[in-house]
């Protein structure tokens, strides 16, 4: 962008538009503060478990589709061509994932008043070890996520201001805005700002599709152009055998993993009724066709019209060149007409919305897990809820300091971050998906499987660094190491459950 991509000619009017939008979020935070119904954890972290259809759908949408969808997905589609249609499939698989645990988990959450996923884990398995381990894994995944969002936020703001607002100032300023509105209204603030951000994001995706096709011509011409060149023909070719396995691996791993993100699970807890939850999830099932597919189309169009950005070394810097295809497209549109200029302003507002809505949800979720799953049970077991709510706010402010500090100095690609955190998070899938259905599954086998899955996944991931193989193993026979680790995880659970039952039957016979 400014330092890694094209400088975009935003004028004072555009800056004022973005500035007013960001400041309006503080107003929503104040309004949410006035609407609070007390200082309980349920009111602060779950908006009083009273989210209606529009807010629930838009907050699910804005949280699930982040800056990575716009920048990372279009960049990946630029590099991989139609092969990245897998993004449409794996984002659909996320909603399928909800189908397999949300109905039962929602019912349990209404009865047991869960605040965090850790509450469910402890209720279901009665194990402190499992609750702490799963909470720490979820915090790791969300910290990773928040870091990437904060980095993107600073870069976008730097682009919008053409370097007049440096990256560090953008990150710190927007972090402060987020912290203020989040501290004021908790989940209510986050969900209401998400609703606005989700609305802008939906409009942004439709605008993007329109400007991309208007500026670059039909998709069929771009595809024919890619197919005609030997060096780009692979971008329209059907994936080979290993490609097909990786496709399957993506669909299963991302589908299972993203659905159990703690901030997603907490939105299930926050629904006013199961009718509202099912309707919100039903609308979510359509969104991959209006978001991920748009990002893929943009990536493919840009691959045909602006070649040469495939290789990470082409431009250097924090963001790989292919992830600048969206700003490049915006530059073309801005230079074409006055209307195009204002369309791009709205698109950038959508980008900021995408990033902020994901980051604030993740931050709130992290602070709720530290407060409810770690601080309350192990440091202040008898603390009143008002104290814990205040502690949650303080934790969010404390957490933001290292996050901002690392975000300013972080270097890496967005899509790599997405991959690493999911490989770890998906190891928690058996505890949630099986735990919600099986009464016989015990804490011991689940904990053993989780540890085995983690060791196997991380061992493969860093096998090169550990000297076990020539280089680190990202995939095994086309399957992600996280999914292979999940296979090991499930096998250990099955074996340990079988052994435990055999031992208990032998004990029963002896008695």
């Amino acid at each position: 962008m400014t330092s890694n991509g094209p400088p975009l000619p935003f004028g004072p009017g555009a800056l004022a538009f973005v500035g007013i939008y960001v400041l309006s979020l503080l107003g929503i935070g104040f309004f949410a503060y006035r609407k609070r119904r007390g200082d309980s954890l349920g009111d602060f972290f779950l908006a009083g478990r009273d989210m209606g259809f529009a807010v629930l759908f838009l907050t699910l949408f804005a949280t699930q589709y982040s800056g990575n969808t716009l920048l990372g997905f279009s960049g990946a589609a630029y590099r991989n061509g139609l092969g990245f249609l897998v993004a449409v499939h794996f984002m659909t698989a996320v909603v399928v994932g909800y189908v397999f645990f949300a109905p039962r988990l929602y019912r349990l959450s209404r009865r047991e008043l869960f605040i965090t996923p850790g509450d469910f884990i402890y209720f279901r398995f009665g194990s402190h070890f499992l609750r702490i381990l799963i909470t720490l894994i979820m915090i790791f995944a969300l910290l990773n996520f928040t870091l990437a969002q904060m980095k993107t936020l600073g870069t976008v703001f730097e682009t919008v201001s053409q370097g007049r607002i440096p990256l560090w100032a953008g990150v710190i300023g927007l972090a402060l805005v987020m912290l203020v509105y989040e501290s004021l209204g908790g989940m209510r603030s986050v969900a209401w700002t998400d609703a606005i951000q989700g609305g802008i994001l939906i409009a942004g995706f439709f605008l993007l599709l329109y400007v991309a096709l208007d500026q670059l011509g039909p998709l069929s011409e771009a595809l024919a152009q890619l197919a005609a060149q030997p060096e780009t023909a692979k971008k329209v070719a059907r994936p080979d055998g290993a490609g097909g396995r990786t496709w399957l691996s993506f669909v299963v791993m991302v589908g299972l993993g993203i659905a159990i993100y703690p901030h997603s699970i907490q939105r299930i807890f926050a629904a006013r009724s199961s009718r509202i939850l099912k309707r919100s999830l039903a609308v979510m099932a359509i969104t991959p066709l209006t978001t991920s597919l748009v990002a893929v189309i943009i990536g493919v169009l840009m691959a045909a019209h602006v070649p040469g950005l495939d290789h990470p070394t082409a431009g250097g810097g924090a963001i790989v060149p292919s992830e600048t295809v969206l700003p490049l497209l915006c530059l073309k549109v801005m230079q074409a007409s006055e209307t195009g200029y204002w369309l791009v302003v709205v698109i950038f507002a959508a980008l900021i919305a995408a990033v902020m809505s994901t980051a604030d949800s993740a931050l709130l979720s992290i602070s709720s897990m530290i407060t409810k799953d770690l601080y309350a049970p192990y440091f202040r077991p008898n603390a009143p809820e008002a104290h814990l709510t205040r502690a949650g706010k303080g934790i969010a402010w404390l957490l933001m300091v290292p996050i901002v500090w690392i975000a300013i100095g972080y270097d890496g690609t967005l899509i790599q971050l997405l991959s690493i955190k999911l490989e770890v998070l998906v190891q928690c899938a058996p505890a949630v998906y099986l735990g919600v259905h099986s009464r016989r599954l015990a804490a011991g086998p689940v904990a053993l499987g989780l540890v085995a899955g983690l060791v196997f996944t991380l061992g493969l991931h860093w096998s090169g660094d550990l000297g076990l193989t020539e280089s680190n193993t990202g995939r095994l026979f086309g399957f992600h190491t996280g999914l292979v680790g999940l296979g090991v995880n499930l096998c250990v659970i099955a074996f340990a459950t079988f052994c435990a039952r055999r031992n208990s039957s032998a004990d029963a016979r002896r008695v």
Partner: protein, 83 residues
């Protein structure tokens, strides 16, 4: 056990009225078929409407999965607490 300990008849009837889509075999069968269709391993040749046939099929299968998911959520999930 952490699951419900209420044993009165009304509560039992209430529990039975809850239908979880994950316990319905046709839901599993539907998603398994769709998953098999989603993976681009089928020998689809040629171009449809200026787009490679396999890519058109991938998008159509995605649309079919979305439609089936909506059907499962609306028709396959019944909760007596629905208001």
């Amino acid at each position: 056990m952490p699951f419900s300990t209420k044993h009165d008849k009304a509560a039992a009837k209430h529990r039975r009225a809850f239908i979880d889509p994950a316990r319905r075999p046709w839901v599993w069968a539907g998603f398994a078929l769709l998953l098999a269709g989603l993976i681009p391993v089928w020998p689809i040749e040629g171009w449809w409407w200026g787009i490679p046939g396999w890519a058109v099929l991938a998008v159509l299968m995605s649309a079919a999965t979305s439609a089936f998911t909506i059907f499962v959520l609306i028709k396959g999930w019944r909760d007596p607490d629905d208001v």
